[in-house]
Amino acid sequence: MNNNKRNFLKSLGAYGLMAFNPLLSNYANAMKSLVENYNEALKSNFNGQQINFNSDRIIIKAPKLAENGSSVPVKTSLTNLNPDEYISKIWYIVNENQIPFALEFSFTKETGFGDVGTQLRFSKASKITAIYKNNHNELFANAKFIKVINGGCGISKDKIRK
């Protein structure tokens, strides 16, 4: 009797795993692809250059909670800019978007104050990362998490072409 009960429980467990496995694997694949997108984007653009990801110099102004993901205002500024320093590039990355790189700014000495702003689309709640590069080729970044209620990337199901 005990043996039968044990076998029954074992088979139940096996069926359960089989039933949930595809779901798990899909979810895992989706998560993996997102992480890969972000990591690949970083690798391809910065060639393994060291980035200081928790720089206090960059201040990101964006709402903590955005109702509509189709236009989220994001402003970034820089503190402690040295007299011989200017910002040559800024990248905005929305980590969870299918194409993470949102914007690439290129500046000269006349505009390299690191004070920029725009409005971005968020597919879902995600971190926004601002990566700065100065004229000494130093990379530093800061990030802020923004919770989005309605995603703004992608077209609603009614508009999908058949």
Partner: protein
């Protein structure tokens, strides 16, 4: 559609010599999103999106931006600049359908 490409930008009334000032610009543009088939494959075609914006002072390029589809429709951009003398500011937008939109304005420096 007729209003597509209309640029509005604001600059401060008083610009001081060698003091940074903020330029705000907005352009009316749909910034189409990539569409997908029912199975999730993207539909390959030219989408009506802005891909580049450039700013010139006295025909010298001072800034450029590369856009992706993650920028919202009617793209808004703000940045800071510095000038030493009165000059002409030009903003230029380029989109995927080979349209060019530009607007110029005189910047007057007050000593």
């Amino acid at each position: 559609m007729s209003k597509q490409g209309r640029i509005r930008f604001s600059i401060p009334k008083r610009i001081k010599k060698n003091v940074p000032f903020r330029i705000k610009s907005i352009i009316r543009h749909p910034m189409e999103l990539p569409e997908h088939n029912k199975d999730g494959t993207p539909i390959l075609k030219k989408y009506n999106t802005i891909h580049t914006m450039k700013a010139f002072i006295n025909n010298k390029e001072i800034m450029s931006i590369e856009f992706s589809s993650a920028v919202s429709s009617n793209p808004y951009i703000q940045f800071k600049a510095i000038i030493s003398e009165s000059s002409e500011l030009k903003l230029l937008y380029l989109d995927q359908l080979n349209n060019q939109y530009e607007k110029t304005r005189q910047l007057k420096v007050i000593n």
